[in-house]
Amino acid sequence: MEQKEYKSINKPVRKKDAMQLLLGRPVYTDDITPGNALVVKLLRSPHANAVIQEINTSTALKVPGVAAVYTWEDVPKTRFAIAGQTYPEPSPYDRLILDRHVRFVGDPVAIIAAETEKAALRAMKMIKVKYQILEPVLDFCKAKDNPILVHPEEDWFPPCQVGGDPKRNLVASEVNSDGDVEAVLSDCDIVLDRTYHTKAFNQAMMETFRTYTELDRYGRLHVISSTQIVFHCRRILSRALGIPKSRIRVEKPRIGGGFGAKQTAVCEVYPAFVTLKTGRPAKLIYTREESQIAGSPRHEMEIRIRLGAGRDGHIRCVDLYTLSNTGAYGEHGPTTVGLSGHKAIPLYTGGLEAYRFSYDVVYTNLQAAGAYRGYGATQGIFALESIVNELAEQLGMDPTVIRDKNMVKEGMKMPSYYNETANACALDRCMEHCRQMFHWDEKYPVRDMGNGKVRTAGVAMAMQGSCISHVDVGSATIKLGEDGTYNLIIGAADMGTGCDTILAQMAAECLDCSVDDIAVFGADTDASPYDSGSYASSTTYITGKAVEKACAELKERICSIAAEMLGCAASEMVFEGRQVRRIGTEETVSLTDIGYKSQVFNTQAAEATASHSSPVSPPPYMVGMVEIELDKETGLVTILDYMAVVDCGIPINPALARIQTEGGIVQGIGHTLMEDVRYDHNGKPIGSSFMQYKIPTRLDMGKLHVEFEHSYEPTGPFGAKSIGEIVINTPAPALAHAIYRATGVWHRELPITPEKIALSLSGKEGKNS
């Protein structure tokens, strides 16, 4: 394995913004934008499916302090999608800013802009709406070919052909396979056929959705938003509002968490519309309730797997069908579902003879789903890892050993992963490392602790990608300052993950300087070079490579300027960090002098911009093991230890990679044991606040241990792959496994609550295996 001695790479450098954040400095959208902007509020539909027959805003407009109220009659009639995806988006254009047809409880009905929040809320109560209430489609298993259509409109438009048909409530549909699935299955000693159900989960980032808009000094629309996708946001606004992109500037300040939620332009269009109409600054801050009921949660999925294997534990065939619930709008519907197969099945490339992956994505009259860390892989991996655990238990094999036999290994070609080759894969080492550190052999057996409590363990593997291959573009601009320091300008969005710092580490390594000598700026559509944005685990891998390229170009330019200063050819110059040296004469020019020279009678820009894109998306790999104590009487699961070993290639910043892993694991624990986006029988959301939608506290997670197994990804910057998403994928299957070990009952639906566990044991609910 290649691994050089680096100065800045693979070092736990402090995040550049760390002390600003920890000391509470004003750096977020609401802190840095004026308080006297119009307050924007949205009146939302109380019905899951309805058509607005009449809407009367005249009384509302008379409320003192109300500047404007807009309804469906006032907005442009061009449909668009708010998914932050590269054009042409796989997500259908199925939205209007305000639609006469409202499709879920929470769908906006009117936009209110007022001088104060109080006035806006008062006006909201005064808007009179008469609805024609329609029967909703709430059960996603019954949505396909249901006579009730979520999107009956004629102007529904798919920018990409992904198998969607609104007349069937279908957003996307596909089948792909390799080998003869039926033939292999019929030849297997054992075939398991199981169905798993994962729910919608909210990202629950601490900063809710929020956007500030104003007209800038050129009369352009200036958008300051908590977003992961400044460039996509600009394109979305341009289409939705019907104005050219040159009239829009989108920037993001610090972001209070995203996890994919802010890869969708959830709230930007509303204040932008107000500012365009009124010419006045406007601000929309979602309440926690709005973030919970009208955000962009994970897609609920039902996944059926037929798994064929030999008696010796050799996994020969996977037939996986996913039904995905995109909710009322199709954002990220056609793409998330793909990962439920393509980023699960390749884990078992080892001896796989055939696979089939098919899916349907359906509309329902529930909150629209979106992007959430893991993006479909989380759902697929829960199903596949669970069924492999079921196979191991049925065969009486150690579930880590069955994985040793079947897992993907370095150098293998992965037919279910677009025929990519696993160039860097330490999954086998992750498993061995995890087994040793965790003391699997001691923790896996069920141990009776007395008092109705048992201890045992579960295991799962995971993978993800490192970008969207053939699609994502990352760019970086690096500029030399006159004192020999640098500015790194990016369009990727640090949402707390630390990418500003990680990219600076790479630049520092390339330019042989200290990380402190690199000032980072991002992201702003006026100033940053194009970047598809921070999602799909792509920033380190894609934008990182762009940083490497830009630095290489800048070094050449620096040498060239220096050569001009010495009156020689650039090829005679070597870049040495603080100086440039002429080979042979040993003359040197300091970086500071080059910086000053670049500003005097100079024709070569002391800056470089480079873009990068990749034809492959090398998967990171991971093994997670969890030890629990389960109280068989109350059903309470207490997590004792969670051990994870991750192969993210070479971690650029091990401290940040570790925190990513820990944070992902705790989110995954929440999804498995307590979180659930729920609705009543009318489609009204139940868990609309943090009082009902509980996320783990620091008392709910046990002890975490994270280690890394290095591999070297040849296509990544400094051997790096991704880390951001994969880390959320192991808790659900590992915990479900441990709970089975403790109780003898497989829980195939998330979350696995104490009630489900206790009642499955006391015989008050049908046994599940």
């Binding site: 307590m674 996320i695 009630e755 009642l759």
Partner: protein, 266 residues
């Protein structure tokens, strides 16, 4: 969020009482619950200047002012010595320290909330409420009364020798409980208090004298079964009636065993 038009720090209980007789008047406790209401309050009446924020302990009783914060219950040595730590156990998982610094005993008891850990705890003791007009009445009676316009001034707990346990089931550690269970033996009388049923906490006395001859595995089980039979449960977002009844059985049995010194569960 609630709309408050006027705010008064009352100078006397009489002033507070008078202000509270208007329909739009509201006594504010910690305000944590009231804050989320969407109605309008004409006058928010604050008792913060009336010296009701102390726990006073004498030989015979604890006198706990209505404005005492839950955090004070948690950290009061005398109260925790008397309750065998049940006071701390009852409140320590309520949201967080900051919340417990604000939530008041008076607010919790006055609200008679179904989910209340605090009501469950005090019902297990020989507790009384002191009402400004209504005088001193047993907590058990108060708990069954409807809210009126009186003012809760103090909680009084007679320090009769006793043993106490407190257990609760929570899905997430700082969440509202799915079920609460306090068990006590005060001067020979056993009582189980079951809260978060999800209705208001109920007191179940050992009428069948199941524990009279001492706590054993069998008597604890029998007492738990009796409690489960006697307590109606319902379903809400945190759990079904069936699960709650199951939990009554489990927690009551465990509490009895703990009270009997046979098991330690917390």
């Amino acid at each position: 969020m609630i709309n408050i038009q006027n705010y008064v720090q009352a100078e006397s209980l009489e002033e507070a009482y008078q202000l509270n007789q208007k329909k739009s008047g509201r006594i504010i406790g910690g305000m944590l619950w009231m804050k989320m209401a969407r109605n309008t309050v004409g006058t928010a009446i604050d008792l913060c200047r009336l010296g009701l924020d102390a726990i006073e302990e004498t030989e015979e009783e604890f006198s706990i002012g209505a404005m005492v914060a839950l955090r004070q219950l948690e950290t009061h040595p005398g109260l925790n010595a008397y309750t065998c730590g049940a006071a701390a156990r009852a409140v320590q998982d309520i949201i967080g320290v900051q919340f417990r610094n604000m939530a008041t005993v008076g607010g919790s008891i006055w609200g008679r909330f179904g989910f209340s850990d605090v009501l469950t705890l005090f019902l297990a003791m020989d507790s009384y409420v002191e009402l400004y007009k209504g005088g001193i009445i047993p907590l058990e009676i108060f708990a069954a009364m409807k809210q009126d316009n009186d003012i809760l001034v103090r909680i009084l707990v007679r320090k009769k020798p006793g043993l106490f346990t407190y257990q609760a089931m929570r899905i997430q550690r700082t969440d509202f409980p799915v079920l609460t269970c306090a068990l006590s033996q005060v001067e020979g009388e056993y009582r189980a208090v079951i809260g978060a049923r999800p209705g208001r906490a109920m007191v179940i006395r050992d009428k069948r004298e199941l524990l009279k001859d001492g706590i054993t595995e069998d008597s604890a089980r029998a007492f738990a079964a009796y409690t489960a039979e006697s307590v109606p449960t319902g379903s809400n977002v945190r759990g079904s009636a069936a699960y709650r009844t199951h939990l009554v059985n489990v927690l009551a049995k465990r509490s009895a065993l703990e009270l009997g010194g046979m098991q330690k569960w917390n």
